[in-house]
Symmetry: C2
Subunit: 231 residues, 2 copies
């Protein structure tokens, strides 16, 4: 009853967030001015400061509104896996899927801006802006602890240090795959099939191969994951 279709307040707010998200991907955080954002959103310049207070707070909001959902989905996936495993350590592949699966799903959603946001997020892992870095670190702390713990338990013979490095590598491959695929021109024209829905199986296979590769340091050929499953 109370003006159901378009209310002025939240609508302006969301228009700003959507416009900012797209422009941040296209030009980067610094190179995107409030004028560009408000012009694209079709709102007044002063609206940003009215709704968000500052450009920094707007940036934070752009990340937070999607990151909260993403990490909630990750934790829910891990909870479900651990519940149905009932104390038995999870298979590493399940843990990896639980972490990177939701990210890739979001990266495939071209309808509601999920893809746009994941490109932005992937790029932001190497963002120099100290404010953004610290905010991201806080936002990721819990999820990272939970998944690393699960991975430690799922690979009992492997030094935590090695698992940490490989998780780091996996995040790199994933971020880059999402953020760089159509942004970068290095591979321009080389991909016949850049279908994002096929990225998931391709990437998963690569990640698990890397995770289960022989350890480099100890010379006696020990596996990161027991058995010849990786072969």
């Amino acid at each position: 009853m109370t003006t159901p279709p378009v209310r002025p307040g939240p609508e302006t707010r969301n228009r700003i967030l959507d416009a900012a998200e797209e422009l941040f991907v296209e030009h980067g955080l610094d190179a995107t001015s409030m004028r560009m954002i408000t012009t694209k959103a079709g709102v007044n310049l002063a609206a940003v400061n009215y709704h968000f207070g500052s450009k920094g707070s707007l940036i934070q909001e752009v990340f937070q509104r999607r990151l909260t959902d993403l990490n909630r989905a990750r934790l829910a996936a891990l909870d479900a896996l651990e519940r149905q495993a009932g104390g038995v350590p999870l298979k590493p592949s399940k843990v990896v899927e639980g972490f990177f699966g939701p990210a890739l799903e979001m990266a495939c959603d071209t309808e509601h801006g999920g893809r746009t946001f994941m490109q932005l997020l992937g790029r932001t892992y190497t963002e120099p802006n100290a404010f953004v870095r610290q905010f991201l670190a806080e936002e990721y702390a819990e999820v990272l602890d939970r998944f690393l713990g699960a991975l430690y338990r799922s690979l009992p013979g492997v030094p935590h240090e090695e698992i940490l490095w490989r998780f780091h590598f996996m995040m790199g491959a994933t971020s880059y795959a999402i953020a760089g695929t159509d942004a970068l021109q290095l591979f321009a024209g080389k991909f016949d099939d850049a279908d994002p829905s096929r990225l998931m199986p391709r990437l998963m296979s690569f990640l698990l191969g890397g995770l289960r590769a022989p350890l480099a340091d100890n010379g006696h050929g020990r596996q990161a994951k027991g058995g010849p499953k990786a072969a």
Copy 2:
């Protein structure tokens, strides 16, 4: 005889390039102003425009002076491998080492700024600035073609499309490992051993594991690389 130790011209130029390189890593391309650069270099503000013409040209020079060496080293490594193989296709591990080895070596050189530059380069693969992207693509075109060709020949049964994707993933893992390790605070305090010289074997092992992982698409468990070597 002609003023051997410190000539004024080239010295100023290099001071600017070195200062810019460090500041670009720390703050990003856009957020680094010419005033910051000249202050750090201890030269006059106008010197940048005198020596380079514009900020854009300075950025290009910062990349070019090191990238030329890096890619020359890569091509030399590949040439040597192909010469001594004499027509026989190279092992994939050799091709991968030829491409990523020189990059990781440079990333370990803390003496002459190699490490600083590689952090910058790793971050720049996802740089939104169109000018920088196109410049990088041109600079990489030849090396990329040569190495991809070698990799195609070394993995004869594998669709080029799959190899392309995995090369993409490998570049991602590497860039991120170099650029993000101490920049990102996600893993802050988690690494007991961030020794960059040990990064090389760790990363190589991961990359090769990923490259040789089972292909995801065709369901009959075919290997990206024949034999159980990955196991």
